[in-house]
Symmetry: C2
Subunit: 164 residues, 2 copies
DNA sequence: TTGGAAAGTCAACAAGGCTGACGTAAATTC
DNA sequence: GAATTTACGTCAGCCTTGTTGACTTTCCAA
């Protein structure tokens, strides 16, 4: 049995173990998005709207270009989503005071309500999973996910962590 | 500080911790799909083709309806993907011998080659993440993901685990 | 004052989901 | 043996969400 200098088994690095991890990601991500998707269906919104709402809530006053780099989509794609959210009165866009080219984004009260509904549902599932797995498993979960990110994504993720 | 009867801290269940987990899932999933996406762009294929190829490789001879229940899409959607894979000679479809209504799916040699290329890339990232996080973190990672799945998805996941 | 960055818009397109309707062959049930 | 159900395929049309390309407006900063 393969052992590292430190003595840990390397069996967790077999192709079979890696494949299980890949499939776990696939199935778990479905669960991860299932509840918000269910809430949004019927409204005119989808997962893209959820993501925008989440990160605007997370960083109130964020600019469009900051949101673009977090979401990793084109401005045309994001703009379509933002426009409907602004028209429907969920998001408020205001010109920057120091730099008037920028648009600072905030959730309205109505936007806050939808955000709350969506994140309550998503957190409920996450909470149940965390509770079932326990604190040590959760720490490992986060470690592996962080290691799986592209460096640029990890930078974004950590910037959010600190900021909050 | 909140403590369970067992004595573990419950701080890992705060909304803040849950939010970090949610964002970690979002950013990590991007990394998870990035390498195969890069390989497939330029070919006429996308993520949907990758998923079909993965699970046909995983369960050679599987039927269309079995694949449907694993992927959770409509037959029209899956059919569009399968048709191109069959036309391009990556997948072979053959009538069932015991039940001739069924179509059993296999990867051709050409299909195996693409599968290998895709899964090598995806496993490389997963392996790096596993190695960086260590075996105990990996165990926790899998525990949390399993707990996050819908029961039906968990059933599918476990059926695959055993079968492999 | 002018170059370039930030933001927005229009048009066109593609992938990949979806529903509904219909057809065919084979298995199952009555 | 007839009727029904199951497995699969296909056509048509729609939606969301991503893409590129071209263009305009605004406005900061060198």
């Amino acid at each position: 049995m393969a052992e590292t200098p430190g003595g840990e088994s390397l069996l967790f690095l077999t192709d079979e173990q890696l494949r299980k991890g890949i499939e776990a990601m696939f199935f778990a991500y479905r669960g991860f998005t299932a509840d918000p998707d269910r809430i949004l269906e019927g409204m005119d919104y989808g997962r893209a709207h959820h993501r925008a709402i989440h990160f605007i809530h997370r960083s109130p006053g964020t600019t469009v270009s900051n949101l673009l780099s977090i979401l990793g989509v084109t401005k045309q794609s994001l703009n379509r989503v933002l426009r409907t959210l602004i028209e429907d009165g969920l998001v408020r866009s205001e010109k920057g005071k120091v730099d008037a080219r920028e648009r600072h984004l905030h959730l309205t009260d109505k936007g806050q309500m939808l955000e709350r509904e969506l994140s309550d549902a998503q957190r409920a599932r996450m909470r149940a999973a965390y509770r079932a797995a326990g604190p040590q498993a959760v720490a490992g979960f986060r470690q592996v996910l962080e290691a799986m990110m592209d460096p640029e994504m990890r930078r974004q993720y950590n910037r959010l962590k600190e900021g909050g």
